[in-house]
Amino acid sequence: MHDDNEYKIEAKSDNVSDVGTFESVTTTDIDYLPPKEIPDQDLYHSHSWWTTYVFSQDAKYIGIQYAFTAIGTGLLGLILSWLMRMQIAFPGLGLLEPAAYYQFVTMHGMIMVVYLLTALFLGGFGNLLIPLMCGSRDMAFPYVNMLSYWMFLIAVIVLLASFFVPGGPTGAGWTLYPPQAITAGTAGSNAGITLMLISLVLFVAGFTMGGLNYIVTTLQYRTQGMTLMRLPLTVWGIFIATVLAMFAFPALLVGCIMMTLDNVLGTSFFMPTIISMGEKLGTEGGSPILFQHLFWFFGHPEVYIVALPAFGIVSDLISIHSRKTIFGYRMMVWAIVGIGALSFFVWAHHMYVSGMSPWFGYFFATTTLIIAVPTAIKVYNWILTLWKGNIQLTLPMLFALAFVVTFVNGGLTGIFLGNVTVDVPLSDTYFVVAHFHMVMGIAPILVIFGAIYHWFPLITGRMLDEGMGRIHFWVTFIGSYLIYFPMHYQGFVGVPRRYFEIYDSPYMSVSGLSLNAFITVAALIVGATQLLFLYNLIFSARAGKKAEKNPWKANSLEWLTPEMPPGHGNFGKELPKVYRWAYDFGVPGAKEDYIPQTTPPSAVVGSKVEKS
């Protein structure tokens, strides 16, 4: 990879080549590609309905299986959030008991972060797009890839099973901090938490199987001519996110295993001597903070495991729908890599007031604010791509732009919380809730919507309905901003998060109840609009407008398959050859305003093209 980049940079130095350079060379010479290094894949061909649609080894199907399971679980998360919000805003209704409220908070958080976002971005979009965009026939290890999905499904089933065990699911908060998670004062401190931990262990195991596929496929199975620096940023985002996951998930795994042992066998990894509800437990000498370190060593990269694919996808959406080359591609790639690397050095900014040595605060505040620099560069490059573009406000583009606004807002509040002093008054308040929902809830979800509107024709051959899509867009974008922007101010007032009931306490000079009611009503409306979106998915898959081939006039390989939706093996008889990056839009001298990656230089001789 390193050598490859070196080579690229050298090639870049002579910058834009014009026609003159090529005068003496023959056509075959300019179209030269280095020979293939890896033989064509031996594909598994299914023979029955079961092996085609259920136990499928085709990455495209596995991606869709992942997506359905993730979205289904996410719907449950959405319903749980409605119930929680109803309870906070209208406590008079007596909708929930405190224990149930905390169980819903916990399950909502865990489902949304792990079982929806992670699974959908990597399992869903990763499986669908990596082979297609790299120009390969399938993932490197299709059988393991299939197992990955089934492992994920079992993890989801175990998670859902915890609703039906005595004591119900765990109510420990999604961070599952011990000792509280496994002591009597918390709901589901026996069976509930055990099932949650087992489910996470299964998820990590399944995810590792998928993740190896994404990494190996990206590194080994790119088609002829597809250098790393010609990959669409979507693949870069998913690839680096997967690398992060491979390093981060083991920390979660050991944390889960150790806590299971504490809970089931009475070990003391995380348990000091404590008196729980007047009764002394037999534990001794463990450290609750150790769990927090393990959890956040996973938990912070996890934020970027979700964010990097979103960054990648949104870069592609903005470039394609602005009909303009992404601005600063190489900077974008290095920013993704840099953010990924830095994300392993910032975890304890979640723990400024955890009781760890306060001297850590200096280090983690500094690293955290450093990460703001590459992140800001990405934002600049997105908006500079708009500059002098030819912007089509298609549905994917609307969602992509909404993402930028939401992400900038959520990212900037991250600078508040990352700066250790500012974090002291704001930590554990609604400011934090508002911040992370904005930056890693709404922002990635907006990208997911944009991506679904963008790639739906690739999956089904039909377009999603524009009218329903517009309603979905406006309500989701404006509505979620109205939910989370005011919520920051509850945090300034000092309202702590995870309060079953807030009361009109003396510290609130103005009642927080009216604001809570407003936020809840907005959340109900935004949530209901997602049902319209689901209806649109089902309706359009059956009766939507037929999509033309390459409906957005994009350059990347997934649109250049012989059939749409692509068939088994993706590319027909011969794999495509790649002569350029995916961002040749509006190239001066070219006939069309886009040049697909498979177009050889000899076919566009008159155009000025960035050597990539």
């Binding site: 009909r323 955890s354 620099v373 002093t421 009931e501």
Partner: protein
Amino acid sequence: MLALIFAHVLVLIAVGSVIFHFWSPWWWTEVASNWGGMDDTILLTFWITGVVFVAICFFMAYCVWKFRYQKNRRSDYNPENKKLEFHLTWITAVGVAALLAPGLIVWNDYVTVPKNAIKIEVLAYQWDWKYRLPGEDGILGKTDINLVNDENPFGIIQGDKNGMDDLLVDDNELHLQINKPVKFELRSLDVLHNFYVPQFRGKMDIVPGMITYYWIEPIRTGDFEILCAEYCGTGHYAMRGRVFVDEKNDYDNWMAKQITFEKFLAKNSKEKIKTIKLAKN
């Protein structure tokens, strides 16, 4: 048309957010401790990040409108601009450093406890608070969680001389004296908690098995609510207490009413004898 609407919405979001910021009634409480510096850091962060947010929204609104799709137009071909990228990078780095530096200075104060701070132990448990103040020696006696029981709710080691004169506040109401720095020594019997008074700004988790701390200096009198700010189980939301910041006289009066550990033990044994007698009768 859509471009026009979208551009306006972007402007509206930026302007609306600024209006909400300045004119909504929800804002922080008047600070009651020496940590006004935290508020100042927040305000500084506000100005810098606020300007960035508004600028980005406006820029996007302009682009969406100005460069809206036209069939016969081509976008500008400009894949890279090293100079621009370089300038943006260092400007961002400077902005970030400008936010970080004052933050670290205030943090340094926060973690450096003044020598004259009065030590007060906050004992948290599911789901209430107790407090312990040092006696005239100014030193809190050593404790051991294994000794905690009804007769010795703090688990004070009885052999430790410093502990016998400690004042025990077996109640969730605490009093502090104005303008006297205090160091809260935080202990938990069971799970994580966090001793938080919105008006004081300070915060620190309370971790079983160790003593954490932070310090404040109250700067105005009043009656404030104590909230638990680290999720601690089903009763978390109800784990509240009160703290009063008093002038010296009121504070001394309150102190005079508190009993020492020694008296507490004596009282307990008397009560025990009483109950035994009652039982015999």
